[in-house]
Amino acid sequence: MTRRRERTLLEGAAHWWRERVTAVALIPLTLWFFASIIAHSASDYSAVIAWLRMPSSTLMMVLLLAALFYHTALGLQIIIDDYVHSARKVPALIIMRLGCLALAVAGTFAVLRIAIRG
């Protein structure tokens, strides 16, 4: 086995595991989010902020954002690997990863700003 191929196999296994770990984490996190959001369907702005400010909500929300956009980046990477073969592949991967990172950071920033400032 060539060294290049060996490295590809190891990366593939790590990718596979990260996809599963984030998937398992996302089951309770997303169900918590949907249950909470449904419970707050009738809530006004101040009630939604009060809910998001609770330490447990802030923590769950940050964990949700981290797991969600990590899982998204892993999934979209497979799709780019499968369908983008030209010189566009590397730029596509870079843009996709930066996009996922930006979304996770922006979401976390918003949640922390609400938690600290109200």
Partner: protein, 133 residues
């Protein structure tokens, strides 16, 4: 075959357009498509959080967008894509654990995924309507 196309790039997939669509193949590609659609829902989630952090006026605008016809259709599509991806993902995790590979079980679990996604989306939507009223 050193230096061949396969050695360099790995094996190529069959041309799927020559096969008749089956529950198994349709759910396979549906898991991928629903993942992409749910990602767009993730963008909406972040925009909603940013609107909430920006203040009551921006939040009111975000809620107005979400309650518009286009917003409601988008929300329904995101929710169905999410539940389809969730149920399909759990099916994959069960396979990863080594269970459910009999052909009859694969078809049964496939229909469970379809039914559960529809029921969960409907239940979440109705629960939201009840909570809002």
């Amino acid at each position: 075959m050193r230096g061949s196309m396969e050695e360099k790039y790995g094996p190529t997939s069959p041309n799927i357009q020559i096969y008749r669509p089956q529950l198994t193949s349709v759910l396979s590609i549906a898991n991928r498509i629903s993942g992409v659609v749910a990602s767009v829902g993730g963008v909406a989630l972040v925009l909603w959080l940013l609107a909430a952090a920006a203040g009551p006026d921006t939040y009111a605008f975000a809620l107005w967008l979400l309650s518009s016809l286009l917003g409601q259709i988008g929300l329904l599509i995101f929710m169905f894509a999410f539940f389809l991806h969730l149920c399909g993902g759990i099916r994959h995790l069960i396979w990863d654990a080594g269970y459910g590979f009999a052909l009859s079980t694969i078809y049964a679990s496939g229909w469970v995924v379809v039914a559960a996604s529809v029921v969960l989306t409907g239940a979440a939507w109705i629960a939201g309507l009840f909570a809002a009223s």
